[in-house]
């Protein structure tokens, strides 16, 4: 439909509105306002920001755009904030590869660094479950399930920050319990596991770790953020921070669902529980980044 500006007139459109009936159209379309010169050339084109499906209709109004109001509140981006080198999000099913039995054969690294995890043995693949309405990875101690990466060609040096949402569903008492993440055999990796006798969650390497906040197993999903930085490492559980002094090391590979300590057989075992999401950062998150990451993961996964 055309409107020709009358002779001896100038106009400034304030609003243009029309109904587009696409019931006779063979395909989808974008409503568009065009300005044509007297020679018939298109000199301006203002497409709508929506595509109408084939056979559909739309009532469209064009308005002159206006400068927006300044943003006055902080918007937390829906993702990690520091320098990621690995990110595993089990709620993003597009990153998960299932085998023919519905078990997780692999999960892609969302950081874009290619540190994908996989499990070649079918019986040792985790399954899927739901946490807070989201898809999550369910790891079975009896089946020795885990997912791991290839050994990194270069060790990611300390400091390293790991934010991970997970659960431990074995009954507590008197034992060490495997945690959600560890290292590859023969390679370095930061660990998180449960110290049953002390009822706490620890991190670090080779068993050198502690936290002051008791956490008795079993427990539903929790959020742990561990900073691995030589002898001044610490761990936070649901926002409560331990004292420092945990010895740690860099990361030469990642294994989820298994603590994987070659030197401490008591901790060298598979998790019985859930891993929801794990974010590995190079360096130490700033205080504001740490607060935002914890708030985001707490809200997303419903951790305490």
């Amino acid at each position: 439909m055309d409107y020709v500006v009358p002779i001896a007139s100038d106009i400034e459109p304030l609003v243009v509105t029309a109904t587009f009936d696409g019931s006779g159209a063979g395909g989808s379309f974008i409503p568009c306002l065009e300005v044509l010169s007297p020679a018939g050339n298109v000199v301006a084109r203002c497409p709508a920001n929506s595509t109408i499906a084939a056979g559909g209709s739309a009532a469209v109004s064009w308005f002159p755009w206006r400068r927006g109001v300044a943003q006055t509140s902080i918007v937390v981006p829906p993702g990690p904030l520091g320098t990621l080198f690995a990110w595993y999000d089990f709620s993003d099913t597009g990153t998960i590869t299932l085998d023919g039995s519905g078990r997780i054969q692999g999960i892609a690294d969302k950081s874009g660094n290619g540190h994908d995890l996989s499990q070649a043995t079918g019986s040792q693949r985790p399954t899927e479950t739901t946490v807070n309405g989201l898809n999550a990875g369910l790891f079975n101690h009896g089946n020795q399930t885990w997912l791991d990466s290839a050994t990194f060609p270069t060790i990611v040096n300390q400091p390293v920050t790991i934010a991970i949402v997970w659960s431990q569903t074995l009954a507590g008492g008197g034992s060490y319990y495997p945690g959600p993440c560890g290292r590859l055999y023969g390679g370095q990796g930061c660990q998180v596991w449960v110290n049953g006798p002390a009822n706490n969650v620890v991190s670090g390497a080779n068993g050198n770790g502690h936290i002051d906040t008791p956490t008795s197993a079993p427990f539903s999903q929790i959020l742990t953020v561990s900073l691995h930085s030589a002898g001044s490492s610490y761990i936070r559980v649901n926002g409560a921070q331990s004292n420092g002094g945990i010895a740690s090391q860099g990361v030469g590979g990642i294994r989820l669902g298994h603590t994987g300590s070659a030197t401490l057989p008591a901790e060298d075992d598979a998790l019985n529980g859930v891993v929801c999401e794990a974010q590995y950062y190079s360096g130490q998150l700033s205080a504001s980044q740490l607060a935002a990451v914890e708030a985001l993961l707490k809200s997303k996964w419903g951790t305490p």
């Binding site: 409107y3 379309f29 300005v35």
Partner: protein
Amino acid sequence: MPPVYSASMPPNLEITDGYTVRLTALDPTTGNQVSGVTVQDLVMENNLLGATTAEQLAYGPFLLVPGPNA
């Protein structure tokens, strides 16, 4: 009632005589016109800026004053 959408166009879009405002349906992939779409109930509200047969000075609620060192 079909779904309602808002779209944007440049502010102060002055269109002079002889020019045409056209509403059309474009293919999202090729940008070519899509046949079979009918446009109905067109309403345009405009500012009429005046005749163009003679040059006119713009006027309004403003006052020009000499600047520093003028």
